[in-house]
């Protein structure tokens, strides 16, 4: 197996506030290769922060420390802002939840894609436009010429997200970090967007870090799943083994979903065992 794209060991993220100091991420370690890794957790589990810390896009008061945090050999911890800027967008792209907020509402969609393209490739406007139309087609947008001239608010959420994916893939990054990319979308549209993402990611051998609170979604889409709780990774296992998860938290999450094929009177609520805060965690079904 070739060297992983991302190699993180003992990542810790701490916040200072009026109430004192608070550690949001408490010593997590993981690797991501050219595969789809899902990070699942509730709000407050630290999953979004983890994703953002790789790109050093955490909020101002956050202090990131780690034993090491590497992207293909580059030390991300030690990297200055200038170096991070060459990595961001180029080698590591990020897709956010709501395309309404990540697309510039005042620019036509086509122009945004062209701009993104010309940021990373030296190209003349006409060439960039052709490339942009090709990108729109690659995400299965049926009338790329028409959509090229539209503004973000004139397209649906699903289409906006597909456009975001197209834009993020232009520089042909090595890794994509997707933070709840389908949470704002309808169920049928979700499927479409994920299929496209899957296609593009597999075809190019791009790594994917898929952050979500939806365990089902992550399980069906990703190769590996990391379950986070209270700033730690509780369990790290292949997606197909999810039904035989060992950690009680993962099991509780699976059992708390209302299911069409398995009606219950009362849903099982994950009881938060305080021993989970600092207790044992599982890797590939084994206790560590």
């Amino acid at each position: 197996m070739d060297k992983p794209l991302i190699d993180v060991k003992d990542l810790r993220i701490r916040f200072e506030s009026a109430h004192g100091s608070h550690e949001a991420v408490r010593g997590i370690s993981f690797t991501i290769g050219r595969e789809k890794v899902g990070i699942v957790g509730e709000s407050g589990s630290g999953k979004s922060l983890t994703g953002r810390s790789l790109l050093k896009l955490t909020p101002k008061g956050a202090k990131i420390t780690a034993a090491h945090m590497r992207f293909r050999g580059t030390d991300l911890l030690a990297a200055g802002e200038k170096e991070m800027r060459t990595i961001r967008g180029n080698h590591i792209s990020m897709i956010l939840q709501d395309p309404k907020y990540s697309l510039n509402p005042l620019m036509r969609i086509g122009n945004q894609i062209v701009e993104a393209y010309r940021l990373h490739h030296k190209a003349r406007p006409a060439e960039a436009k052709t490339k942009a139309l090709a990108m729109l087609e690659s995400v299965h947008i049926r009338e790329p010429e028409r959509v090229f001239d539209l503004f973000p608010h004139e397209v649906s959420g699903g289409m906006g997200q597909r456009i975001m994916i197209a834009m993020m893939l232009i520089p042909e990054p090595d890794l994509i970090i997707a933070d709840e990319p389908t949470s704002a979308l309808d169920v049928t549209v979700r499927r479409q967007v994920l299929t496209i993402l899957d296609e593009l990611v597999s075809r190019r051998g791009t790594g994917l870090m898929f952050i979500s609170h939806d365990l089902n979604l992550v399980a069906s889409f990703c190769d590996r799943v990391l379950v986070m709780y209270a700033g730690r990774i509780m369990e790290d296992l292949p997606a197909r083994d999810l039904h035989s998860a060992r950690h009680p938290y993962t099991q509780a999450l699976l059992e708390s979903l209302p299911r069409l094929d398995h009606p219950v009177d009362e849903l099982k609520v994950p009881l938060r065992d305080p021993s989970w805060l600092n207790g044992s965690v599982y890797h590939n079904g084994a206790l560590i």
């Binding site: 509730e42 709000s43 407050g44 959420g157 309808d186 169920v187 049928t188 549209v189 979700r190 499927r191 609170h213 939806d214 365990l215 089902n216 979604l217 399980a219 069906s220 999810l242 039904h243 035989s244 998860a245 099991q251 509780a252 999450l253 699976l254 059992e255 708390s256 979903l257 209302p258 299911r259 069409l260 094929d261 398995h262 009606p263 219950v264 009177d265 009362e266 849903l267 099982k268 609520v269 994950p270």
Partner: protein, 262 residues
């Protein structure tokens, strides 16, 4: 009392349009349904199908509709009065937006009591906080200090503190984490049983609707395509193509069943 109608809530030919003269769009198109007392009825569909619009028209937030909305056998006026609000309350989708950012929980709960002239404010507030699973330590907190689930509980408490008969639920758990969703759904189910409430619940999540409601109307582009009961939903028995497609997409998103440990 008023034995004229077997149904508590009825919609007859409800239509809602938005936009000005030239660009009027029919968001809800001639919808009719009925709900019995104590029943939980679901409206399910994708965004833009009109389900939330129906809810808003029923709740009294939007008085611009055609057709009739009937409560307990009497047609409702377009502008509702206090006695209507005493009987019908709503829980909103976004817990982060439905509580006033500058009011502590105590004030949020005291307000409806004050508006409707209830007595024993402090006691009632304590009772309802217990009923929704929040203790007295939450009385003096601001919304931003609460998690999504806790805020939604406060929203439910606020809706129930004036003892309504009917609760309108606008995707109450779609903005919440999966594990918190379970808590809130359990809470809603329990409260309905305990207080003999009638629910009209809107959602895009079939599993949630099947879990909570006895019957549901599948909506598409402003119309109710068909009505199914929970059993039919679970067995994927649908007549319309769209419904079948919808059911299929919802089922696909489910992971393999966890092995049950002894």
């Amino acid at each position: 009392m008023n034995g004229a109608s077997r149904f508590l809530i009825e919609a007859v030919g409800l239509s809602v349009s938005f936009g000005s003269q030239n660009t009027r769009v029919r968001v809800v198109d001639d919808v009719s349904f009925h709900i019995r007392k104590g029943e939980a009825y679901g409206l399910i569909g994708e965004s833009g199908c009109g389900k939330s619009t129906i809810l808003r028209a029923l709740s009294g937030l939007n008085g611009d509709y055609e057709g009739a909305l009937v409560l307990g056998g009497r047609e409702l006026p377009k502008r509702r009065g206090k006695d209507f609000f005493r009987r019908v309350q709503m829980v909103f989708q976004d817990p982060y937006g439905s509580l006033h950012p500058r009011k502590i929980v105590e004030r949020v709960l005291a307000e409806p009591l004050a508006i409707h002239g209830f007595d024993r404010h402090s006691e009632r507030i304590g009772e309802i906080l217990d009923a929704v699973g929040l203790g007295p330590s939450f009385r003096y907190r601001y919304p931003h200090e609460l998690s999504g689930g806790q805020r939604q509980r406060v929203a439910i408490a606020r809706a129930l503190i004036i003892e309504p008969e009917i609760l309108l639920l606008d995707e109450p758990t779609s903005a919440l984490d999966v594990s918190v969703q379970a808590e809130i759904l359990n809470l809603l189910k329990r409260l309905r049983r305990e207080r003999d409430l009638t629910y009209l619940m809107v959602s895009h999540d079939l599993a949630v609707i099947a879990h909570m409601c006895e019957r549901a109307g599948i909506m598409y582009r402003g119309e109710i395509l068909e009505e199914l009961d929970a059993g039919q939903i679970r067995d994927s028995q649908a007549k319309e193509d769209y419904t079948r497609e919808f059911l299929q997409a919802s089922i696909e998103a489910v992971a393999r069943r966890p092995e049950v440990d002894a």
